[in-house]
Amino acid sequence: MTDSALPTFIAESRELLREMEAALLECEQGETGAEAVNSIFRAAHTIKGSSGLFGLDGIVAFTHVVESVLDRVRANTLQMDRALAAILLECRDHIEHLVNAVADGKSDDVQLATRGESLLQKLSARAGGPAAAHTTASTTPVAPAAGHALWRIHVQFHAEVLRNGMDPLSFIRYLGTLGDIVALKLLTERLPGAEEFDAEACYLGFEIELASSESQQRIEAAFEFVRDDCTLQVRQKGTAASEVVADRREADTKESKASKSSDSRSLRVDGDKLDKLIDLIGELVTAGATTTITARKAGLSELNESTLRLARLVEEVRDQALKLRMVQIGPTFSRFQRIVRDVAREIGKEIRLETGGAETELDKTLIESITDPLTHLVRNAIDHGIETAEVRRSRGKNVEGVVRLDAYHDSGSVVIEVADDGGGLKRERIIAKAIERGLITDGSSLTDSEAFALIFEPGFSTAEQVTNLSGRGVGMDVVKRNVNALRGTVELDSKEGEGTTVRIRLPLTLAIIDGFLVGVGNSSFVIPLELVEECVELGDEHRSADGDQRYINLRGAVLPFVRLREMFSLRSSASRRESIVVIRCAGQRIGIVVDDLLGEMQAVIKPLSRLFSRIRGIGGSTILGTGQLALILDVTSLLDLCLNTRQTQAAPRRALMD
């Protein structure tokens, strides 16, 4: 429909450009009258407005910047002078070239575009303000909801609506174009008596049931012009027959049934009481261990047997008590719906949040502490992960990006995944940045996962553009630190062009761990049992006097190791026999050299005082059955420490404090 009007547009634009030229020449000669500025502005304004109608985005983008500058001149925040008039004249000429190009039927001239860019730069250098051409946000069609949903719309028009030129009836007619109006009820409660009745006021409200496949947004938009003049409530009532939707409804009712039955059987307990109980059970475990040791020493077989039975029961009580603190992660996930919606809208991307494993349970304190890192990861995915609609379209992806939150149990730990189907990480860029930041010297030997792990290093950020969302100086290193503080690990998978998945692995609970007790000199250490793979003896051939050999051949594979005695500067000479505890952590194997292997135990974690919070390599302490204190190793940070030590060749003892 626009083609037939195109000649009008061209003729009109040329006419306006002539006026603009005359006025600009006046200004250049120093006779800047308000009328001249006005007519320059109006010319730019009109050309921009009408070129938009014809879909001539190039002209719109260029003219927009010119118009913004002129608007400031008009508002007297920018002084029109000869220099500015000269640049504006050049801009005018450029618009003329653009219009001529349209007239000649070749609107996408590359040379013209580059010329436009440099002109805009010149203009912004003179006038300040944005250099980049304004690109009009393309109105992407809103994806219709699956099937026909039944919407209930409650609208109460305010008294002024008729006087404002709005006819309530017209909005209801328009609603009819979005779907079928199934039922309509007139609300007349506000109708006054005949004496008070004002013929020009509106007293009516409507309750409408609409069967429509449109989104809530589109339905609410029907009332956009009366938003100030009515009270509007749109909500989904239920769903009309459609297979997909019917399935969902079935799931819904199942869910509601389940939640109903669990509601009636559940009991609200003050969290502090629970914490106290868990504390006591921790003490019980410790006391039980003491009894077991004493019984063994006493050598009474009957006592031994009964204490072992007691220990088993204590273990069961512990497990049940810990379950009391377990809550489902679902409600935490649902909070992200709002965040995703708001943030996505703020930066103009279309993003849907999907969640899975809402019924997965984890410790309440864990859920509280994981919300911040999760928020950061989700925002990162929205901000840097998901591409803009244009890029997605050009890559043949669905315009709507997907961020997915998942939770599941995996061999004694809980895994939470934050996945996006965005652009993925670019290996080369990460390595280049890491080299620039001095984190590494050469990236060629790194595997992909090692390269991706670099983004968790302090001070690393690949986002080229700092937006107001993620660019607050809080990087992925903080996420990693927070997760590590919860004795968890972070992994990252990414495929360029396909998306990124960040996997957070957390222990089920913070209170008690199954540990492996080892001794070095007179000190005892606890290694989390789930990380221990095996124990081997450290042969004499590997025990060089200066202790500088730091690896052994374990069945044909290189196993690097660290000596706890060195790491913690323990002042005792090495014992005659040493053993290696082989641990696997974050996909790497490493050996820890100790004097004695003391066996499995349950360790009730006592957090370290804040005074020691900066010590790396130690996650907490526990009281042994003998009353002795054992330190619980924080294997992840210990590993970091050794790897960094290897790379920087620094003395291991110095690396202990960060």
Partner: protein, 121 residues
């Protein structure tokens, strides 16, 4: 009987494209080149007015005020055409009673949608 729309804009191309789009959608269209011309063309049945803000001779806000004061047309819905740059004008227009706005540059479909909300063909 077809709904009649008065479109007031100094740009001939905007008028022409709008006219074509609206006529195809089943409306009857009257064109005016500015506010003064618009007031002159206020006669007979008019279901909706679309008016630009920035126009020579009489601008859209003045025109809007005149329409709101007109005994026969004070209840006629008016859609104002504005730009992002005209935020001040928009506030001025709001004070004058303008409720419906379309931000320029717009696609013909956007205009048809807005028109349909206020007066379905």
């Amino acid at each position: 009987m077809a709904k009649r729309i008065l479109i007031v804009d100094d740009s001939a191309s905007v008028r022409q494209v709008s006219n074509i789009a609206l006529t195809r959608a089943g409306y009857e269209v009257i064109e005016a080149t500015d506010g003064q011309d618009g007031l002159a063309k206020l006669a007979g049945k008019i279901n909706l007015i679309i008016s630009d803000v920035n126009m020579p001779r009489m601008d859209g806000i003045t025109f809007l005020k005149a329409v709101k004061a007109h005994p026969n047309y004070k209840f006629t819905p008016v859609i104002m055409l504005t730009t992002e740059a005209g935020e001040d004008k928009k506030n001025e227009g709001r004070a004058a009673g303008a409720k419906a706005w379309i931000v320029k540059p717009f696609q013909p479909q956007t205009m048809l949608d807005a028109v349909a909300k206020l007066c379905l063909a």
